[in-house]
Symmetry: C2
Subunit: 403 residues, 2 copies
């Protein structure tokens, strides 16, 4: 009975294929997984968090166990502003139950069925299926080694505009991009912000990974460039997640952007979640206030650096020379380009038989616009030893592909 | 710039007027408030929760700080089934970030712009604005002393169906109804479930208050009646909130219902929140597993009982005889009917001048279908002494209304 009553959007809704792929390999004993996007549980600051949760409930329980403001905890906002070094009004910040949550609110606030969101190709599947569920048409623009291809972006904008469609925003992950591992160059960032300003197209900057930099020099976020160099705090909405730096179980992220947009996103939050978890918010505020974030981030980065090194060393040693891949300085993913006629979806099945898993690249493109000769490798879940062994086997599978 | 890009639903979105009313009186010193719907912070089991949060992070941190399942924590589901005494498959339960969250997912799963939701009049404003934001047309059906008026319901269903509109569900709060304080009679419950089954119209049973019964005999929920008497677990989706029995800051609720609907609600949860807060979920599971819930509920009920008594005593003593009101045996609200030509919106302004606040009843009706001679009184926020004093003043204001 209920099946006949489902809304159109619900009937057509795509599921996250990644989830199904991951669960199709979950029960393989001895599996070496490069598939997930989970942080290592060893990086969770359990001792500090355990103490903070207990303290916050003991000392501030009457407040944090009560309903909180839909806008988020003001104490956390203060600490976030100090941490990031901005002096913005609280009206330009919204705390949400994770980054996906903030992305969904922004999409609901702006997108009408048939409106266009320009995304990078490849891009984060979780966002693509959410955009799709709200009714957006996704227009992918290729990435090059410096990030989103600006000429491609401009011609996409022209084409879509000529068709009379409305572009609601550009969705980008400039730092340690998921899934490609690419970090947008400074020049590309500046040019992108300048172009967006000239065309008045909002940017959604998804930033889950920028603090996970193990080497090299950090680049300013798009929000920072708009703020510092163009005195604009409205064209870019930056969404920063705590999932990779504290723990995804806490469901915490924050968005900074135009006060009008933030207010409307907050209105959706009021209807959908009422408010984010008050306890986690206050714990994160105390974590920042007590000065744990800096040392903790250094610790996580030192922890992950050998994982990345193991991955890059194994890739250079074991992957055939005709295979290309990105060499990130942080984050949690690398990306592999196979020869054009080689399908990573097919490779996935062969790898599964060898107890190795990854995500075929095709899953990171809008439906109907897939590329098949690519794959994503996560390097923060398996141990460095497993990484070496897994990439060795994967190299052999690729070499044997045509056999 | 961003204003022009907002989606239609976002432009038209109603805000919760209650929030604005509450904030219009927030800074009045010495205010006696009957306005909010907050539980008393004195009922939060802080000591137990503080210990459980610390333990859960210490002993299960690697698990609870990680991403959780979109369906919710299986351990919590087990405990919920034991607590409520059901043997349902986990596929019929979804854990969410509060009841509003579950209500929103169910609405997204079923409602298309123009579809009808039948609601009680008056009803919980938070749900009405969420239904409206998804594009539902709200058809209100009056309440009598036994709950939703079945003849009214039947004629509403006939009328709407004749107009060719689709009814997606009936929204009801059978226990200690918000805002009216009415508890649906057993006979009415049974008749409602039977009618819904005969017409195949789903019911959304919103249950935040049924465990807050201070006297009298508990009645089976609609879900229970459908389950026990009609062997049906699909027609009713029951949503139980932890906000009034543990603490709203934790953002926890759960829905039970049709596996198809629960699966689709879970798909929306995956796109909107990924998963509920893992830590709060496990803490709630341990709270139940360690047997705290029973004694805790007894404690809350004994705590609130004198508040309700103070309210009913003051109402019988100080309100003019031509004023009618409900006499609930639990929950957190009572409801007052003024003479037909007396506006509670006007009374609100006069009461504010006397440092008393409540919510005018008109705020609990769909836009354009308001009744103005009614008001909601919360009795769990102000002390029994304040309740006596506040109702005395309110009685005088009502008596003086025509002066």
């Amino acid at each position: 009975m209920i099946s006949e009553k489902l809304s159109q959007a619900t009937r057509n809704m795509q599921s996250s294929m990644i989830r199904e792929l991951v669960s199709s390999t979950r029960d393989i004993p001895g599996l070496i997984s490069f598939a997930g996007g989970f942080p290592s549980p060893k990086t969770f600051p359990r001792e500090t968090l355990g103490r903070l949760y207990a303290n916050v409930i003991e000392n501030e329980g009457e407040c944090v166990l009560q309903y909180g403001a839909s806008e988020g905890d003001n104490m956390l906002k203060e600490e976030l502003l100090k941490w990031e070094g901005y002096s913005l009004p609280h009206e330009q910040i919204l705390i949400t139950a994770g980054a996906t949550n903030a992305i969904f609110y922004m999409t609901l606030a702006l997108v009408e069925k048939g409106d266009v969101i320009i995304c990078e190709a490849p891009s984060f599947l979780g966002s693509l299926v959410a955009f799709d569920a709200v009714g957006a048409e996704l227009i992918p623009v290729d990435l090059d080694r410096e990030g989103i291809d600006l000429a491609g972006l401009q011609s996409a904008v022209q084409k879509v505009t000529a068709e009379g469609k409305k572009i609601k925003f550009i969705y980008t992950i400039p730092d340690f991009h998921n899934p490609s591992g690419i970090t947008m160059s400074y020049q590309r960032r500046r040019d992108l912000v300048k172009y967006a300003l000239s065309m008045q197209i909002p940017i959604l900057e998804d930033n889950p990974y920028s603090r996970l930099r193990f080497s090299g020099t950090a680049l300013p976020t798009l929000f920072r460039i708009a703020h510092d160099e163009f005195q604009n705090t409205e064209i870019v909405t930056e969404i920063v997640s705590f999932s990779k730096i504290l723990g995804p179980g806490m469901r915490l992220a924050f968005a900074k952007g135009s006060p009008i947009l933030i207010e409307r996103m907050c209105s959706w939050q009021q209807k959908i979640n009422i408010a984010p978890d008050n306890i986690s918010q206050r714990v994160a505020a105390r974590f920042l206030a007590e000065g744990h974030m800096g040392p903790h981030l250094e610790k996580i980065c030192s922890f992950y650096a050998p994982y990345l090194e193991a991955m890059l060393t194994a890739m250079s040693r074991y992957l055939p020379p005709y295979v290309q891949y990105t060499k990130p300085e942080g984050g949690i993913f690398t990306w592999v380009w196979l020869p054009e006629d080689m399908s990573a979806d097919e490779l996935f099945e062969r790898a599964k038989a060898e107890k190795i898993s990854f995500i075929p690249g095709s899953k990171f493109y809008p439906v109907g616009k897939e590329k098949f000769n690519c794959l994503r490798l996560n390097f923060t879940f398996s141990t460095p030893e497993q990484i070496e062994q897994g990439i060795k086997s994967l190299g052999k599978l690729i070499s044997d592909f045509y056999a």
